[in-house]
């Protein structure tokens, strides 16, 4: 009588935890799905163009930001004071790039960046989303454009509000994450 041939199995037990093995399996499954899908990758969205196309895209955003700060500072601070407090111009702490001074930015709004705006809002109560009316602009988007933002967020895992502290906030509707995500992306583009 011939011995029954058993299929070869890996008898050595893995030292890895079940969690780790599960994650590996999941990752493998996900990557095989990615390889199989032949759908073309959607183009990354340029948010300044999508929301501020009529106002000149990135340049339009910069102009709006400079105007908002100019209005706020006019009665309160000199341009040189802004430089000293926010670390613009010559006062910049050690960094790879020297930032322009506020006076230069007021003359030429193309020098404005998301980082400079972030620094200046340390001094003034100017909120990034209000000054650009992001919530209203997002509401006015066409259904297709809105869906493409949500799809980008969901496909790439972007815009996820993290560090919430506890699993009570484990699931937050994507709709609630769109505004902070769009604001962050616009300021990265500027």
């Amino acid at each position: 009588m011939q011995p029954i041939k058993r299929p070869k199995t890996n008898k050595t037990r893995s030292s890895k935890s079940p969690m780790e093995t599960d994650t590996k399996r999941q990752t493998a499954r996900m990557s095989s799905t990615v390889l199989k899908s032949k759908e073309p990758k959607p183009k990354p969205i340029h948010y300044s163009t999508l929301l501020f196309g009529k106002e000149g895209g990135v340049d339009g955003v910069r102009t709006l930001l400079v105007a908002a700060v100019r209005k706020e500072r006019a009665t309160k601070f000199d341009a040189s004071e802004i430089d000293t407090i926010c670390g613009l111009g010559n006062e910049t702490p050690k960094s790879s790039k020297r930032l322009p001074s506020w006076a230069q930015i007021e003359k030429d709004s193309t020098l404005m960046t998301g980082f400079i705006f972030s620094l200046v809002t340390s001094l003034f109560d100017i909120r990034a989303d209000s000054v650009l009316r992001i919530p209203q602009r997002v509401k006015n988007l066409s259904c297709g454009d809105y869906k493409s933002i949500v799809a980008e967020m969901e496909t790439n895992g972007f815009g996820v509000i993290a560090a919430a502290g506890g699993n009570d906030l484990e699931s937050i509707a994507t709709d609630r994450q769109v505004v902070p995500y769009v604001v962050t992306r616009i300021f990265e583009e500027v």
Binding site: D129, G157, A162, G165, G166, Y181, F187
Partner: protein, 185 residues
């Protein structure tokens, strides 16, 4: 509860980061309340923004009015793999300032340093490791576990503690006084 090893790790990371920041920002500036309140603290917040932008892959800190998740003051918002921004929900902070008299700038500084703690101690929060969505309209966010929250707050308190200790020593040396206890941190 954190183990002693975790606590030590959070504190040593905070010490390292506070040491790096102290090259840009003198501790006497951090706690100088004799200056005009608004511009004095604005300088501290701006220096923190410089520091985080430089050391955390260009992370931006944005002040928002948006208040669609009430009861929370700050979030990490992921915008790329390993990158993102810190959103400060100023509307919520203003409500708390009115209710508890905790100054707005103190809340901002605390929240910024807390989120810095998350970036340094839980970098996975900004990386692409999304679990599947439980329902179609809701997706699972990578959230900080209670352990990670504790770590980030230990980081924030230790970070400010190092600055306060530095200030108290320098203040004694420069002005023959140690007024460290009078500061909000």
């Amino acid at each position: 509860m954190l183990s002693v090893a975790d606590f030590t790790m959070a504190c040593s990371t905070a010490r390292e980061e506070a040491g790096k920041l102290s090259k840009d920002l003198d501790s006497s500036e951090f706690f100088d309340q004799d200056k005009d309140d608004k511009s004095g603290y604005a300088r501290v917040i701006a220096r923190l923004k410089h520091f985080i932008h430089r050391t955390c892959r260009g992370t931006l800190i944005l002040h928002l009015t948006y208040d669609d998740v009430p009861g929370f003051a700050s979030w990490l918002v992921r915008s790329g793999n390993g990158t993102g921004g810190i959103a400060l929900y100023v509307t919520q902070m203003v409500k708390w300032a009115a209710k508890t008299k905790m100054p707005l700038h103190v809340q901002k500084i605390r929240s910024i340093i807390h989120e810095l703690g998350h970036i340094k101690l839980s970098p996975h929060l900004l990386q692409n490791t999304l679990p599947p969505a439980p329902r179609q309209d809701v997706r699972r966010s990578p959230y900080a576990s209670p352990f990670e929250e504790e770590m980030a707050w230990v980081f924030a308190c230790a970070f400010m503690g190092f600055f306060l200790g530095d200030y108290s020593f320098n203040s004694r040396k420069d002005h023959a006084r140690d007024d460290a206890p009078r500061f909000f941190i």
